[in-house]
């Protein structure tokens, strides 16, 4: 082995390579022999080093990646608690034995399960353990000159040779180096070193594509950034849901939400005090098939200092306020219902959100009247038909807009169960301690109330009035201070990936040997990874020494055709 090869090697030897990587820049005799996967019996230090070397090896990274892919599958096969808790409960009811075992192994919360976490944490440890030394090695590479010109060019995949009729070897080498550096002075394509190897023999060593490794490292670091941002987001976020009727609003405070969730590191301080009012809700449906076309919630956001502004929230267009985003998640009708007792005193009055159950907005809702002066508590449960159609004895809604709204309600009497202290779903009537008053044998007809109508309640319990039909909108407010980091990391990953995959990393060497008046020029090229442009790169440098271009037509054709080979 020549001394030159050794010097090439010594540069590379400093470069860190993960165990098991294939790299053309390592000379063949330099490639470490495949290690036997046998733990050395040299005590815990050696064992730890062995384990670390294994964990950061390419093979293990590959294995962990495939494990991650496989481990992600069950999350799409089984219902997940985080998305659809009801479906999980249903699954457990349908498959009691299997379900219990699946639940025991976190199959209903795959992405929060210990085994899923184990895989990705190991993967990221492996990744960090791999890129930290690589960053160091790359930093060293960036500061050092291209590797010295090897003595023998034969083993390189791309080669060229020319004879320059008259000139000096030094001059030839300089011209080649200039060509390699390219036309832009401050942004050379190749980093070059020109030197005299021995009297009359000048060499150029050149390398390009340091960005490839830079991009690769950026990509991997950015992946860590994505994971950390995502994790921090889970800890810091809060999320509240609120159903708001037109004309009403809510304040950004934990108690004001219908439901509220937050991460482990959440503090009340991160909730900026503002209020939001729903001024108007508009929807557009297509006349012939009721297909939803557009939803717009016009809201007024009022800040602490009293400044307020109006904004439109759409399905795809949340409003932003102090780093929080307010999403439009749902909508429906909230008929204004007033219940009066036998004396004409109001016992209930309000706009009650009825939740749509189909495309025609046939909506279900509940009215609870606990504050009765005399007699038992009253519960009304039933449907709102926005555009009611009573043809053929049926009752159905034929259009989602409130064109001909009717309430169809059943009445219950008894104990609403509100005093039991157990939190109740406002959209469900707990009829355990109640008796049905309508829809029974004696009183089969439900209460049917048109807009603007007042209907008597059975048993002389008073009246119920349906006076207005405003819309309601369901809002979801989410605050996650890490979104900017997440986006930044993601874009860095994308950029780094593209740079790393599409930048060629090439080394080119030129040796100019003086023989009398003539200079013999030999060129060689080596690339990291597949590089179909390598020969072209070498040829372009060689071409500056072509004194004449008298190729035959056949040669030209062959050249053209060979370029078309993959």
């Amino acid at each position: 082995m020549s001394t030159d090869d050794k010097s090439t090697q010594s540069t590379d030897a400093k470069a860190y390579r993960p165990e098991g990587i294939e790299d053309a820049f390592l000379t063949s005799d330099e490639k470490p022999a495949p290690k036997q996967a046998v733990a050395p019996s040299l005590g815990w230090r050696a064992l730890a080093r062995f384990m670390w070397r294994q964990l950061t090896s390419m093979r293990v990274a590959l294995m962990l990646l495939m494990l991650l892919a496989i481990a992600a599958v069950p999350g799409s096969l089984f219902p997940q608690r985080s998305q659809d808790p009801a479906a999980v409960e249903q699954y457990l009811v349908d498959n009691p034995t299997l379900g219990e075992w699946l639940d025991r192994f976190s199959f209903f919360a795959v992405y929060a399960s210990p085994w899923f976490a184990a895989i990705y944490i190991l993967l990221f440890i492996s990744l960090v353990g791999c890129i930290l030394p690589r960053i160091k090695a790359h930093w060293h590479d960036l500061k050092s000159a291209p590797p010295r010109t090897p003595r023998i060019f034969k083993r390189f995949p791309a080669q060229a040779a020319r004879t320059v009729e008259s000139g000096s070897a030094q001059d030839v080498a300089q011209r080649a180096a200039e060509r390699l550096r390219g036309p832009i002075k401050f942004l050379p394509l190749f980093r070059t070193t020109v030197g005299e190897e021995q009297p009359g023999v000048w060499t150029v060593s050149a390398e390009r594509g340091y960005l490839k490794e830079t991009g690769n490292l950026i990509f991997h670091v950015a992946l860590v950034g994505i994971l950390l941002s995502f994790g921090a987001g889970q800890l810091l976020e809060y999320r509240g849901q609120s159903i708001v009727v037109e004309g009403r609003g809510f304040a950004n405070a934990q108690v004001a939400y219908d439901s509220f969730e937050h991460g482990a590191w959440f503090t009340e301080d991160s909730m900026s005090p503002f209020t939001m009012t729903l001024d108007k809700f508009e929807s557009v449906f297509r006349a012939n098939d009721s297909a939803a076309q557009d939803f717009t919630a016009t809201v007024t956001l009022t800040e602490k200092n009293g400044e307020s502004r109006q904004e439109d929230i759409k399905v795809n267009h949340p409003a932003k306020q102090d780093g929080a985003k307010i999403y439009l998640m749902g909508n429906g009708h909230a008929p204004t219902i007033t219940v009066r007792d036998e004396n004409g005193d109001v016992t209930f009055s309000g706009s009650v959100p009825f939740l749509a159950e189909d495309d025609q907005y046939t909506s279900k809702g509940v009215v609870k009247v606990p504050d009765v002066v005399s007699g038992e508590q009253i519960g009304l449960v039933g449907y709102l038909l926005p555009t009611a159609d009573f043809e053929n004895g049926g009752m159905r809604s034929i259009y989602p807009e409130a064109l001909n709204p009717f309430l169809v309600l059943d009445m219950y009497e008894g104990d609403l169960g509100l005093d039991s202290g157990i939190p109740q779903n406002v959209y469900r009537l707990d009829t355990d301690a109640m008796t049905k008053v309508t829809g029974t044998m004696e009183n089969p007809d439900p209460l049917i109330i048109g807009l603007g109508q007042t209907v008597d309640l059975p048993n002389g319990r008073g009246t119920v009035e349906f006076s207005e039909i405003p819309r309601f909108a369901a809002f979801d407010l989410r605050y996650d201070p890490t979104l900017g980091w997440l986006l930044g990391s993601s874009l860095a990953a994308l950029g780094g990936l593209a740079i790393s995959l599409f930048t060629p990393r090439r080394r080119v060497w030129v040796r100019a040997t003086q023989s009398g008046d003539q200079v013999e020029v030999a060129l060689a090229g080596l690339a990291r990874g597949d590089d179909s442009g390598l020969q072209g790169e070498v040829d372009r440098v060689a071409a500056i020494f072509d004194s004449h271009l008298d190729l035959t037509d056949q040669e030209k054709l062959n050249k053209k055709l060979s370029r078309r080979e993959i």
Binding site: N316, H317, P318, F502, G529
Partner: protein, 329 residues
């Protein structure tokens, strides 16, 4: 307009079918030529041995007139044959009809034509053919033609018969420029993965043939670039696909953040897009891992493309999630 689009799709499908037949005929001719040459060589060798004079000249003479340079390998580079010419021309015609189908579909629906499974099929296959024709401008890959047209024809016919729905506007959740970007890039990535898959498949076949597999005995495989070169080509195409897929995930997360209030929520489509990404990431790693490059890396492409297909079909049909825009019931 929607009707016109459908007619154009059938027109394109017909063109691809004709092209497929022509590509197949051409590969058949190549196979025959190689077979004949081999037989002749064997015969010549036998004769030469018999006469005791083993020389290249004798073999060349024995091979005779039809192919003057018999020792020169038959190659697709610079190949001209009637069948191949017709095949490429008809593929181009099919591609133009296909383009017309995509454009008219867009006008019929009044939006970009990639919002349901049928349209995804329509545009994905369009991208695959486009990628094939575009690469052919720079590099000789006509040997892929038969396989590309086969896959595209298959998907088009399945799309027309199984996924097809009337052109229509989309629900409010999809009315965003992200539909153009996120889904558009996803379709392009899928089309590109399709081409790379075909290349990797041929790589495996070529490799099997080179290693004397008794199952893979087609002569035409010898005309293809060797397995290493096919692997390199597949990698370059897959690299583009992978970058686009990464962008699909990122743009999807941005859109989901705007529309659903979370960037990532492990919806079935998100799960499988993630799996696709991880498998292709594993593929890129495998290529640079000693002992895993070459044939084994190609297996990753097979798995990766299977997950792409499942993400498109299986996830839309079997699971219900937030990405239920397929248009099937």
């Amino acid at each position: 307009m929607g009707q016109i689009s459908d007619y154009l799709v059938w027109g394109a499908a017909t063109a691809y079918a004709i092209a497929l037949v022509c590509f197949a005929i051409d590969l058949g001719r190549v196979s025959e030529a190689i077979g004949a040459r081999k037989a002749a060589r064997t015969k010549a060798l036998a004769q030469a041995e018999g006469s005791g004079a083993v020389s290249g000249g004798a073999i060349a003479t024995a091979l005779g007139g039809e192919s003057a340079s018999a020792d020169e390998p038959i190659s697709y580079v610079g190949r001209s044959s009637k069948a191949l010419g017709i095949a490429m021309a008809v593929t181009t015609v099919g591609f133009l009809l296909h383009a017309g189908a995509v454009v008219t579909r867009g006008f019929a629906a009044g939006r970009v034509p990639w919002a349901n499974m049928y349209e995804f099929c329509l545009v994905g296959t369009f991208v695959a053919v486009g990628a094939f024709l575009a690469i052919q401008i720079f590099k000789e890959i006509r040997y892929l033609g038969g396989f590309i047209t086969f896959v595209v024809l298959l998907f088009l016919v399945v799309g027309m018969n199984v996924f097809h729905i009337q052109a229509d506007s989309v629900q409010p959740a999809l009315q965003r420029y992200w539909l153009v970007i996120h889904v558009g890039i996803a379709v392009i990535a899928t089309g590109i993965f399709t081409v790379a898959f075909v290349v990797s498949l041929l790589q495996l076949l070529r490799d099997s043939r080179d290693n004397g597999s008794p199952l893979v005995t087609w002569n035409w495989l010898e005309v293809l670039p060797n397995a290493d070169r096919l692997e390199a080509l597949s990698f370059r195409i897959n690299a583009v696909g992978f970058v686009l897929w990464t962008f699909t995930l990122i743009s999807g997360a941005i859109w989901a953040e705007d529309a659903w209030g979370r960037a990532w929520g492990w919806d079935p489509k998100e799960v499988w897009s993630f799996i696709v990404w991880v498998v292709y990431a594993a593929y890129l790693h495998a290529r640079t891992t000693r002992g895993w490059s070459g044939r084994r890396a190609a297996y990753f492409v097979m798995i990766g493309y299977a997950t792409v297909l499942f993400n498109f079909t299986g996830v839309n049909i079997l699971f219900s999630g937030k990405h239920s825009y397929g248009g099937l019931n």
